[in-house]
Symmetry: C2
Amino acid sequence: MYNFCNRLAVRSHLILAPHHSHPAPLPMESALFSSSPLSAFVPRSPPSLASRPLRLLSLPFSLLIHHSPPPRGGPPLLPRRLLRRFSPAAYADADAAAASAAESRSSGDRVVARPSSELRMGRPGGSGTGVAGDEKLRSLRELFARPDVAIDAYIIPSQDAHQSEFIAECFMRRAYLTGFTGSAGTAVVTKEKAALWTDGRYFLQAEKQLSPDWILMRSGNQGVPTTSEWLNDVLPAGCRIGIDPFLFSHDAAEELKEAISKKNHELILIKDFNLVDEIWKSRPKPPGKPTRVHDIKYAGVDVLSKLSSLRSVLVENGCTAIVISMLDEVAWLLNMRGSDVPNSPVFYSYLIVEISHATLFVDNNKVTPGVLDHLKSAGVELKPYEEILSEVESLAAKGAKLWLDTSCVNAAIVSIFRSACERHFTRLATKSRKQLNNGASSDLISIKSEDIRNGIPNGLYKVSPVAIAKAVKNKAEIEGMKNSHLRDAAALSEFWCWMEQEVKNNLTLTEVAVADKLFEFRKQQEGFIDTSFDTISGYGANGAVIHYKPTSDSCSFVGTDNLFLLDSGGQYVDGTTDITRTVHFGEPSAWQKECFTRVLQGHIALDQAIFPERMPGFVLDVLARSSLWKVGLDYRHGTGHGVGAALNVHEGPQSISFRFGNLTALQNGMIVSNEPGYYEDHSFGIRIENLLLVKEVDLPNSYGGIGFLGFEKLTFVPIQSKLIDTSLLSPMEIKWVNDYHSQVWEKVSPLVNVAVRDWLWRNTSHAACWTLKSRGKMRTQLMSTCLILSISMFARPIKQQRSVRERGGGGSRQGGRAVDSGLGVI
Amino acid sequence: MYNFCNRLAVRSHLILAPHHSHPAPLPMESALFSSSPLSAFVPRSPPSLASRPLRLLSLPFSLLIHHSPPPRGGPPLLPRRLLRRFSPAAYADADAAAASAAESRSSGDRVVARPSSELRMGRPGGSGTGVAGDEKLRSLRELFARPDVAIDAYIIPSQDAHQSEFIAECFMRRAYLTGFTGSAGTAVVTKEKAALWTDGRYFLQAEKQLSPDWILMRSGNQGVPTTSEWLNDVLPAGCRIGIDPFLFSHDAAEELKEAISKKNHELILIKDFNLVDEIWKSRPKPPGKPTRVHDIKYAGVDVLSKLSSLRSVLVENGCTAIVISMLDEVAWLLNMRGSDVPNSPVFYSYLIVEISHATLFVDNNKVTPGVLDHLKSAGVELKPYEEILSEVESLAAKGAKLWLDTSCVNAAIVSIFRSACERHFTRLATKSRKQLNNGASSDLISIKSEDIRNGIPNGLYKVSPVAIAKAVKNKAEIEGMKNSHLRDAAALSEFWCWMEQEVKNNLTLTEVAVADKLFEFRKQQEGFIDTSFDTISGYGANGAVIHYKPTSDSCSFVGTDNLFLLDSGGQYVDGTTDITRTVHFGEPSAWQKECFTRVLQGHIALDQAIFPERMPGFVLDVLARSSLWKVGLDYRHGTGHGVGAALNVHEGPQSISFRFGNLTALQNGMIVSNEPGYYEDHSFGIRIENLLLVKEVDLPNSYGGIGFLGFEKLTFVPIQSKLIDTSLLSPMEIKWVNDYHSQVWEKVSPLVNVAVRDWLWRNTSHAACWTLKSRGKMRTQLMSTCLILSISMFARPIKQQRSVRERGGGGSRQGGRAVDSGLGVI
């Protein structure tokens, strides 16, 4: 309620540029906004102060890290879209890429994808393009003077119209204009100057790619202003600053408006055309691949039921309609999937759900007859994507009480609705006054006013109810997630088995080649569609770059002298995966082992957490860090993000992070990642990531009648035991590792061939303790370890042990190599 | 900054009743406000939404417990005064008591105190007083009609004018009027009705004590309205509701004003007299005992230096003066102590610090020549306590920029300053207009306006900078805290040694007698002044009442069949202590041992925490609960509160709690309690409390250049090993217990006599492991335990072992009794 009231209090005074008949290429306009990728999980442009540091690129670096508490006050709204510790990936090197990946997919039953290396080509607006940087700027500035534009500056952010993490190539306007292809950046062009803001990850790249006409603003560096501070500085007072209102959430636009008002600048919403599109000669076409129905066996709940639940919420909140603009929310609600953007099975669209009917705004050519039937049976009408604004206007005319999540719905939609509301209010008030003048009794007028009030359209500006409904998975979604994770685990086992051999024989095995090979293994799994994000394949120092993305022309070879970090995920018809493993193919140093072990201890502590219901995720974050803190270590990203079921790999509203602003309680059925890490600059990176299902736990007590929650693992891939310093682990932690590996063996061994099964056995058996003991290492400290181990060894299913013996005893066959080779065991 | 802006935005429209020449008994008026004692650590009436549930008594009970996240939004101000999980104690049975304790203290070098039992007499307005309840109400209502009052209702809260936790008897107006002597409650009297709000702890007591003229409002029960909701319900629209503005913080008054404005009621600030005082025939005199100088060897920093630091902060914030109204802040800043209220060595006063001088508003008769010299040498003037309002007015006249912490400074002071500011603004504006009309050039006017702006008084409404300065202890304060804790530990060892014998021989040993005996032992320690709060001495089911306070007429006998919880503390010349131990003098059940062990595990986890600087305390709260959560248990209070150095036992702004609103970072030099617990209704209560000093730790790494903090224990009293189920403990936890007991032995044994030393040895030695082993219990699980133990045994100083052998071997002399007797050992 507080948020609601608070938001209502924010009055919109955005100025809309006059409508024109100018032929806009598409009203659907987008770009990447300055979502700071220094932060692990960034809420989707929420109006909360707590999230501001994440959105204003040039805030002091120290604000973005080190657990600085969020600024006090401000409505701590539920963050919705959670961006990634690593690159949002919708942009840089592999992103145009991703768009062509979408192209390569067939729309039929069997989806075909292409490997990463093939996708890493063709950047929009790269330095190799025909038009010189200054030429583009000149063309853009010419537009400033046009009477239907009339602005002094234009801001080109990095968003699309839906706040998507991954966006289509045709919306990569900032990259086209600036030539800078990093995933995060905001360009600002005045009549005299042009500046690009990006963060520490991209300073070098931006220096290379920007022409001398551009000023590089190194966000996070001391003294670097924000975009609005810069505009207030370089422009004389009272200028007109233009934006494409489709590319800003309403809240972001309001924030910008307020910031520039300090210098009496006006924010001009130019909604009929995007200025970059006007000068973009060979702009790629918007994606047009067909959508598909997401099978009810994976979706679990049919569209009518979902719509019915949503309508109940609308009625409860006194609303008659809602505009849904987040692509994953539309896809989830309508049990549909698409392939408009890389890594996420979504399609460009808006959805308006009213009490009696629903309308999907989507390009007709994306709707196959099957999809059309599916939609019809749920009572969903179709309208062209471009008609969203006129429909919102006509809703206002009908007196709609419209639910708008202003943290994600773009400023174009919100401002047009507000203007329409004001117009209708004025009209009705005039009518009412006339009646009064015509001699109607004041009593009558009073009644009329009541009617008028009821007939006046208005907005409820509140976080979308679909976000939480989507986050709490149903039985079928959980089933699909579990199944897809097992197939993914099989692919990863095959991959690691291959990798262990390959790295010793192939001295020129690159990080990209590794990612490509992993893609090959995943592709062989049933129901595989695509990667769920660009694979982070980082050897040695590259592993320490949290947002590392290897490119085929500049990546490292993977060797046996350092740690190798691999963070990857798959999109399957029934689920979405996200897993990180860190391994060493040679001899890890004691220091690397200590760091790895402390990260593992954090991973275990979070995995094993039991906590009362209604607990926000941030409360648990400390559990994942304590073991690192003990020796003065830490990591500069969150510990867990939500994951969609066969949808976006990053979703809200829940998270597990040191950012205290997100008060969303963890709930039974939610899925979160568990990914503590440690990164040593210029040296190595460590991260261990599993996905977890939040689950009610049955405990002997229930203090105060409160339910308790815990986690169930979804990910089953061995953790490299060689990297574990067992002397640091408690018996409970050793038991956790052994139990986990037993589960991995049980679940994944039936899914792989004999050779891989052998690898799996070696990496999930518990024999190393004895090896270590015989070496006389740490004999006394390990006594307790061995005790527990021996118990858990005996507890291991007899059948399993026998099968190994029959195979020649994976562990013993490899002999001492278990420890000397790439993958040791505890 | 956000708070500042936010608060400035709150406009005061409080209506001041006209000034009268009515002979007010004292302008210093106070009462206890409805600080909900259900909550462990309640911020001092902050304006933050997060704290509202704690202040509005009739909110649903569920809001007060179960980790419900704080309401989103609202400026999360630093909580200042931290109330107690147990009774604020300024009121109920023992509180008049406490006032007479103050009386019994000599003001000389040696301070004499009296035991609790003697103090538990003479309640103001108890049912035994001469005037019948209805008579008082009739007299009060007669005043409503007086022209200088003219109100329809009057609210009598539980505060004094300084938001003190412990208040003097003469300010216990709510108790006098209602006859209800519980520590928390708010009375509201209209012309027809009279209602009293209190919480679950006091329902039975209130039922007994209230006359039939009073409606009992059971706060926390479903459907029970808040005071303002009730007023809005029972009064016709547009009534005048009176309060004594000295008894409400400005923020609390503003909140009340807003709530009642919904029914168009006006809030009337009657500042010249308190209506209850008008009818209180034999009202006790305000406390008048002399103050004393707090020795520089304990204070560490002289007054001039403290004032100088404060003045720098004022200048940095563009202020020319500050009003300090919290009694502990005045005492700390001036290195003075007093004995106006029980348990806290403070004295009723206000302090105004300006850039060039400072004024203490205090009754002259409290200032001895020594104190006068002390104040003079620091440039502090004296003025009568009653002149605070006129001084604030004259500050406004001088154009002061006044710092006011509206979360604690009362509404009388803030509103008089604001009114004065407005008057001066109007006057200057008129003057400026006149100059313009007289033909001065506009340039000149512009300069004049600048001057005028500079000359206009205004307020900075921000948390007092003294709070954090006081919370971060200097070297001498830390030294004093450490020393007083050792003497306190000696007293407690003597006490427990006595108790262990007494409980077996004395079948009529009451909870109060136990508290009295403890008081006797403490009194024998050098520098002891008083208890730091009323001792919580709870046997069996009484231990489960978190805020339990035994009374001599109704308390239980302490026996050997159940757990006994003892939470107590002392005020010493050099420090303040607060410690809880739970013991069993017979055979604890396995369940009690499990619960105790899990509480201990939480205690250890927090004690051992290492965390980056700038971390709010609430981040660590989960560490103290995890072990309980694992089996579905929890406790409904915070885990840690700040403690003053020879000052209030509860102080802010830091805390360690599941309330996420307090973002105050823990800092090197702060002191916090570590007191997880578990309470089983009608059965038993467990709490283990030590005080901890926040300390920088020297770690092998410093990730990102961040400093790390940890805790150093201040409390050294054995934890009853008999209650520990060692099978649940990790080797690290067992080592913690053993190390702690080694420290207790080393530090405390030199301070006690031979008999007590023997008790101390038995309760700090590590022999039980072997005993358990020989019993063949849990042999395998304990192997690791024994290993660690044996190592730590060997590590024990030889000298210490020898001394025991010389004494005949404390452990062995007692033989098997170590486990069978009251206090076992690990």
